[in-house]
Symmetry: C2
Subunit: 300 residues, 2 copies
């Protein structure tokens, strides 16, 4: 028989499942409105864009954006352009990352990658269009500061810079410091920006934004450590993308550099750091805390 | 012996050469300030971006942007972010267009294309970074409307849409109507946007912007007709890119669809249409008129 406490926890968990589901659904509905319909010419690119965007992703970045906005007292409606923009930017980076001249991946979220379905040329253009659309959608927020923030997170010093270091690091033995630099640029920057844009859409103050940047940074690194761990420990079927890929191409990963157990400990340490940064939000930070906890629970 | 009239014309021509040169130099100086330096990590991508941007282009789009701003009474300084942004967007589209999975071109402006020098993966990322930088730079204009305009011109309905139609039309026999649709999307849209952003940076009124859109549209199509003509009539050396490429891949071009002489006539007709649209600017439209005239003179 379950104790009262367990029931309460289960109820809370169900409640939070509903929150995550609704935030993702609201983002999907907004992206569906913002993206050109497939019937609009040229139909192929619009079909390709939708194929990549509506691929059953967890919408982690939009959910973080929305939860950050709500933690700062903002309205979800006002956070949606930013939530969609970060997801479009994330999706474009996956499409280009999967190309034969980059990571050369055939599977993504359990389905054939964009270039496998639409051809390489179309996949390049599809990524370009998703990136451009991210800025078109964010322009709906009417905030130049938010656009500048997204352009910075997606630029050659951060998101793209991370891909470059990743590309150049393949087959080389990287130090932990170099590995962290790659992941800060490649993953943590866009996660932090998702949170930051949510806060900006809510008109958050400097102290709130500073705390959220700290949170996002630690969370982003934790997320990448977990991704590396999953690549080693999960099967292709469970993962929805080709497993063991990183090892196959001798890519520097946390498990490769510091071992599996140390990597798990590092993920836990980073998650604790992220949770600590949320202290200033008190009860308003509950959902962000929960999201961070769930990100860790994927594996443990 | 030269008549007085001829001297005046020569002096005017020299004067205008100076104007074009200075507008291009001001754009280059601004782009040099805006783009990350090569010494900044990751150096490869910053070197690649600068290799593609500083390749001796004529800066037609920035010059149009600046001349439109000045025709509307604006200051060059205020037009520079837009002038740089359109050139960065144009450059990214060339880098991706040259990729093996797209037009597969080895030469651009007389030099090896980006992927020939830096590899395919880096060329994809370089294009991505230039596109992202276009929005970062334009954010300096502090105008969300201008950012929305650039995102629209660069999106799947226009610039990228044109590339898609182009890609899908290869080897097929296109009607003149389809050909025009491709070029409106691929070339005219960004030229029109260059002019429009210049006008917006100057705080132009609706009538001025409407006239400039008409001008830009006709000019953009004229420019594409001329480009097609040059591909047929010029050598690779003169052109700085692989000549006869369009014919070799059975691409629909104006000369292929309507013949060379008809194409020349069409270019002249479109140029006249462009000049007519400038009438409302009176003497203030002189530089835009001159630019249009020179674009035609490339060939005749």
């Amino acid at each position: 028989m379950l104790s009262k406490g367990t029931w309460a926890m289960d109820f809370h968990a169900m409640d939070f499942d509903g929150y995550l589901k609704q935030a993702a659904a609201d983002t999907d509905a907004a992206m569906d409105r913002f993206l050109p319909p497939e019937i609009e010419r040229p139909g192929t690119i619009h079909a390709a864009m939708r194929y990549c965007v509506f691929a059953g992703g967890k919408r982690l970045r939009p959910v973080l954006c929305i939860a950050a906005a709500e933690a700062c007292g903002g309205k979800r409606q006002d956070a949606l352009p930013a939530a969609c923009a970060v997801e479009l930017m994330h999706t474009y980076s996956l499409v280009h990352d999967d190309l034969p001249c980059m990571d050369d991946d055939d599977l993504r979220r359990g389905r054939p990658t964009c270039h496998k379905v639409y051809g390489e040329g179309m996949a390049v253009l599809c990524g370009d269009a998703l990136l451009t659309e991210a800025f078109a959608v964010l322009a709906r927020s009417k905030s130049v500061e938010m656009i500048a923030e997204l352009a910075s997170a997606g630029g050659s010093r951060k998101l793209i810079g991370g891909q470059v270091l990743d590309l150049e690091g393949e087959g080389k033995s990287l130090s932990l410091e170099e590995l962290i630099r790659i992941h800060e640029a490649k993953t943590a920057a866009l996660l932090t920006t998702s949170i930051r844009l949510g806060a900006m859409s809510a008109g958050a103050d400097e102290a709130q934004i500073a705390a959220l940047i700290k949170f996002g940074h630690a969370l982003g690194l934790a997320f990448q450590v977990l991704d590396d761990i999953l690549d080693v420990t999960q099967t292709t079927e469970n993962l929805g993308k080709t497993a063991g890929k990183d090892t196959a191409v001798a890519k520097a990963t946390y498990p490769a550099v510091m071992g599996l157990e140390e990597s798990r400990a590092e993920a836990a340490r980073l998650t604790a750091e992220a949770l600590e940064a949320l202290a200033v939000f008190g009860e308003n930070g509950a959902r962000l805390r929960e999201i961070a906890g769930r990100m860790l629970l994927r594996e443990f």
